[in-house]
C-alpha cells in the first residue's frame, strides 16, 4: 500500500498542470468569495437588523467555482491514464486493482483536503476584510467569522469535506466513463443542473424535492450556520446525500474497474 501510495503521489506531483489545478482550487474559491461578498451589503435588506444574512455561508460561497477545479483535477487523475495508456503500466506494476483505486482516492482526497482547507480559510479571511465594509459589522450583529464559533467551524470543515466528496464522486464517475471530456461534462452537469433550472421551477414543493436530491444543493447545506429550519435538508444529512452519490459512483466504478479490461 505504501508503494502504491508513493507511485500515485509521484504521478500526480510530476505533472505540471496538476500543481496549477491544486493551487487553482484555493485561488478560485477565494476569488469567487471575494466577488460574492463584495456584491452583498446590508443596504439590500429591509433594515440592518432584519437581514439575517448567513455571513459564514456567504463567505464560503466561493466553492461554487472552486469545486469545478476539484472536478477537473479528480477526473484527470483517472482519465489521463486511460488517455495515454499509462493505466496498463500502472496495473502491471500493481495488479490489485481495488488497491489502485483506493490509493487514487486517498491521494486525491489528501490533495483536496489540503487545498480545500486553504481555500475555505482564505475565504473566511477575505470575507472578514470585505464584509464589514458592506455593513456586516459587529455593531450590526455580525461578529467577524472565527473558527472558534461552533457553527462556523462546522461550516468550514464541512466545506472542505464537501470538496473531498466532490473529488471522490468525480473519480468514481471517471472510472466508469474513462473519458476526460465525457466525465467532466457529466459531473459538472450533475452538480449544476438543479441550481440552474431551479429558477424555472415555480412550484415550491418540486423545488424542495429537487434541492434535497441534488448533490450540490444538498451537500452545500453544510455551509449554513443560522436559520437551519429554512434549509431544504439539514447540514449533515445534506452532506450525507452527496456522500451517497460519491459512494455509489466509487462502488460502481470499482466494480467495473475490477471486471473490465483496462
Amino acid at each position: 500500500m505504501r508503494h502504491s501510495l508513493r507511485a500515485e503521489w509521484t504521478k500526480v506531483r510530476t505533472l505540471r498542470g496538476n500543481t496549477w489545478l491544486a493551487v487553482g482550487i484555493a485561488v478560485c474559491t477565494v476569488l469567487a468569495t471575494a466577488g460574492a461578498t463584495a456584491a452583498v451589503s446590508t443596504a439590500q435588506c429591509p433594515t440592518v437588523t432584519t437581514c439575517f444574512e448567513d455571513t459564514a455561508r456567504l463567505a464560503l460561497r466561493g466553492v461554487w467555482l472552486g469545486q469545478a477545479v476539484v472536478v477537473v483535477l479528480a477526473v484527470l487523475m483517472m482519465s489521463n491514464e486511460y488517455g495515454n495508456g499509462m493505466i496498463r503500466t500502472t496495473l502491471s506494476a500493481i495488479p490489485r486493482r481495488v488497491e489502485v483505486l483506493f490509493t487514487k482516492a486517498a491521494v486525491i482526497s489528501g490533495i483536496v483536503l489540503a487545498t480545500g482547507a486553504a481555500g475555505a480559510v482564505g475565504s473566511l479571511l477575505i470575507g472578514n476584510v470585505i464584509m464589514p465594509a458592506n455593513g456586516f459589522t459587529p455593531a450590526n450583529g455580525y461578529p467577524p467569522l472565527s473558527l472558534a464559533d461552533g457553527p462556523t467551524l462546522r461550516a468550514t470543515v464541512g466545506t472542505v469535506l464537501y470538496l473531498a466528496l466532490i473529488a471522490l464522486l468525480s473519480l468514481g464517475v471517471t472510472t466508469v466513463l474513462r473519458d476526460t471530456a465525457v466525465s467532466i461534462t457529466a459531473v459538472l452537469t450533475l452538480l449544476y443542473v438543479v441550481p440552474v433550472i431551479s429558477t424555472f421551477v415555480t412550484d415550491p414543493e418540486w423545488l424542495d424535492r429537487l434541492r434535497k436530491i441534488s448533490p450540490m444543493t444538498a451537500g452545500l447545506a453544510i455551509q449554513a450556520t443560522r436559520d437551519l429550519d429554512r434549509l431544504p435538508i439539514g447540514p449533515w444529512p445534506g452532506l450525507g446525500v452527496l456522500a451517497a452519490y460519491a459512494a455509489v459512483a466509487m462502488i460502481v466504478g470499482g466494480v467495473l474497474f475490477v471486471v473490465r479490461e483496462a
Partner: protein, 470 residues
C-alpha cells in the same frame, strides 16, 4: 522481365474548393457514431427537462397568474374605469383634481376604447406622479406630454380612427400631447375616466437570499368637471363602472380607487422560456461535442492529415464551424419544436393567454433556441481550437454559461442581471418572450452578445491555427 505499372488511384482528383471542404467535414461528423449519439443526448435532455419544468409549472399556474383572459401575459389591463358610450366624433374633458403619489407610474386620466372588454384597443391620456402627462395606447405606444402633475385639465378627442390628447392648466388654453390611431373603432366607443397603478416590486434581502414580491399599489385620484362634448342626449347613457360599483348616472365628479396596471406586466410567467429551458441542459452535451470535434483530431494526429489535405487551415476551421453549427441547429430545431408541442399543452392551463407558435415572440423563442444551440456549439469549437485541450475548453465554456445562471440564485438581483448580460450566458435571452423585472437583456441583444463572443473566439482560433504547428 516484367514491367510494373505503378499504382494509380482510380478516384479522380477533386478540387479543393470550399464545398469539398464542407463535404469532408460533414463526413467526419456523420461517420463517428459518438457524435450522433451526443446530438441525440442533447435533444433528449432538452425535451425531457422541458417537460419536467412544464409539469412543475403547469401544476402551479393552474389557478391563474393574475393576468387577464385573452391578452398576452406580457400586459395587464386592470385598474378602475368608469365609462359611457360616445357615438361618432366627440371629446371627453375632465380635470384631474388630485392623485395619490404612491408610484412614479401611477396613472389617472381619460380613456377611450373600442369596447369595455379587457384587452380591447384603447387610447389613454393620463397624469403620472413621476413621468408627467402621457398619451398611451394599446400597451406599447407611449407619447410624453408636459411634466405637470395634478391638478391638470385633460381632453381626449376622437376624429374618425384617430384619437388626440390635449392638456391644459386652466381648461381653456389647450396644448396638444399627441395623436394615436385606433384600429377597429365602430361608430360607438366607450369613453371615461380611469385610475391604475402598477404593482410595486419589493426586493428584500433576507436569510441569504433575495425575497422578491409584488405588492399591490392602490391608485387613487379624484376627477371633476367631467363632461362629454358634444352633449347630444342620446350619448348620455348612464356611467358604468368596470367593477360592480354603482355610479351616479349624471355625475361630473368622481373619486376612483384602482389596483393593477394598464400596460406592461413585469411579473408575468414566461411560459415559453420555461418550456425551452431544458435547452440549458441539452446544450452541455453540445459543448462537449463542439470541443471534442476538434480536440480529438489533435489527440489522434488526424489534424495532420486534415491540414495536409487542405493546407488553408483557416478555411478548414470555418468549414468545420459551419457543418457543426448547421447540424446543431437542425437538432436544436427538432428538439425545441418537439418540446414546445409536447409541453405547451401541459403548461397552458389557467386563464392566462396560452403560449402559441402563432405569436411571433414565441416563434422567435423556439427557433432562437435552435440558433442558440448552434452558436454555443460553434463557440465551444472555437474555444477548443484556441486552447486545444478538451479539459480546459469544456470547463471554461460550461462555467461561462452556467455560473451566471447559478449566481442568480444567491447574489442580489442587480449583480446577477449584470453577470447575465455581459457573459456568453446572455444568449439564453433569445428564449424569453416577455420582459420581466428580472430580465437582464433583450432577446436580440443578448443573442448578439453570445454571437460577439463566438465571432471573437473564432477569429482568434483561425489566427492561431494558421500560425502554429499542429
Amino acid at each position: 522481365m516484367v514491367t510494373m505499372t505503378p499504382y494509380r488511384s482510380t478516384v479522380e482528383s477533386s478540387r479543393d474548393g470550399f464545398p469539398q471542404l464542407l463535404l469532408s467535414e460533414w463526413t467526419k461528423l456523420r461517420s463517428v457514431p459518438r457524435w450522433g449519439l451526443t446530438m441525440l443526448a442533447a435533444a433528449a435532455a432538452t425535451i425531457l427537462v422541458g417537460m419536467l419544468l412544464a409539469a412543475g409549472a403547469g401544476a402551479q399556474s393552474a389557478g391563474g397568474d393574475g393576468s387577464t383572459a385573452g391578452i398576452s401575459p406580457q400586459f395587464r389591463d386592470a385598474g378602475s374605469y368608469v365609462h359611457r358610450p360616445l357615438t361618432g366624433d366627440g371629446s371627453l374633458v375632465a380635470r384631474v383634481a388630485t392623485q395619490e403619489r404612491n408610484d412614479p407610474w401611477a396613472k389617472a386620466g381619460l380613456m377611450m376604447r373600442v369596447s369595455a372588454q379587457p384587452g380591447s384597443p384603447y387610447a389613454a391620456l393620463m397624469i403620472t406622479p413621476g413621468h408627467g402627462v402621457r398619451l398611451q395606447s394599446n400597451f406599447v405606444t407611449d407619447l410624453p406630454g408636459s411634466d405637470s402633475g395634478a391638478p391638470r385639465w385633460l381632453k381626449l378627442t376622437r376624429t374618425g380612427d384617430s384619437v388626440t390628447g390635449y392638456e391644459s392648466a386652466d381648461g381653456s388654453n389647450w396644448s396638444k400631447v399627441g395623436t394615436v390611431q385606433l384600429e377597429g373603432m365602430g361608430p360607438t366607443v366607450e369613453t371615461g375616466v380611469f385610475v391604475a397603478s402598477p404593482d410595486a416590486l419589493k426586493l428584500l434581502r433576507q436569510f441569504g437570499g433575495e425575497d422578491i414580491s409584488e405588492t399591490t399599489n392602490l391608485g387613487k385620484a379624484s376627477f371633476d368637471n367631467v363632461k362629454v362634448e358634444p352633449a347630444r342626449p342620446q350619448q348620455l347613457a348612464p356611467w358604468k363602472s368596470n367593477g360592480n360599483t354603482q355610479v351616479d348616472p349624471n355625475a361630473t365628479t368622481f373619486s376612483l380607487v384602482g389596483a393593477g396596471d394598464i400596460g406592461f406586466y413585469q411579473f408575468a410567467t414566461d411560459k415559453t422560456k420555461t418550456i425551452l429551458s431544458g435547452a440549458m441542459i441539452g446544450i452541455m452535451a453540445l459543448v462537449a461535442l463542439g470541443v471534442l470535434f476538434i480536440t480529438t483530431e489533435y489527440q489522434q494526429g488526424l489534424i495532420w492529415t486534415t491540414f495536409t489535405a487542405s493546407p488553408r487551415r483557416g478555411r478548414v476551421l470555418a468549414a468545420r464551424a459551419i457543418v457543426l453549427g448547421g447540424a446543431a441547429f437542425v437538432v436544436g430545431l427538432v428538439a425545441s419544436f418537439a418540446v414546445f408541442l409536447i409541453a405547451a399543452p401541459m403548461i397552458n392551463q389557467g386563464k392566462a393567454a396560452p403560449a402559441s407558435l402563432s405569436d411571433p415572440q414565441v416563434l422567435r423563442g423556439v427557433v432562437g433556441t435552435a440558433a442558440l444551440m448552434a452558436v454555443v456549439a460553434v463557440f465551444s469549437l472555437a474555444v477548443a481550437a484556441i486552447v486545444r485541450r478538451s479539459t480546459a475548453a469544456i470547463t471554461t465554456v460550461l462555467l461561462l454559461l452556467l455560473v451566471p445562471l447559478v449566481a442568480s440564485t444567491a447574489l442580489p438581483l442587480t449583480v446577477a442581471k449584470w453577470l447575465e448580460a455581459v457573459t456568453p450566458a446572455a444568449g439564453f435571452a433569445i428564449q424569453q418572450t416577455i420582459m420581466r423585472y428580472d430580465t437582464a437583456i433583450g432577446p436580440w441583444s443578448g443573442f448578439a452578445v453570445l454571437c460577439a463572443y463566438t465571432a471573437v473566439a473564432l477569429g482568434v482560433a483561425i489566427w492561431r491555427v494558421q500560425r502554429q504547428e499542429a
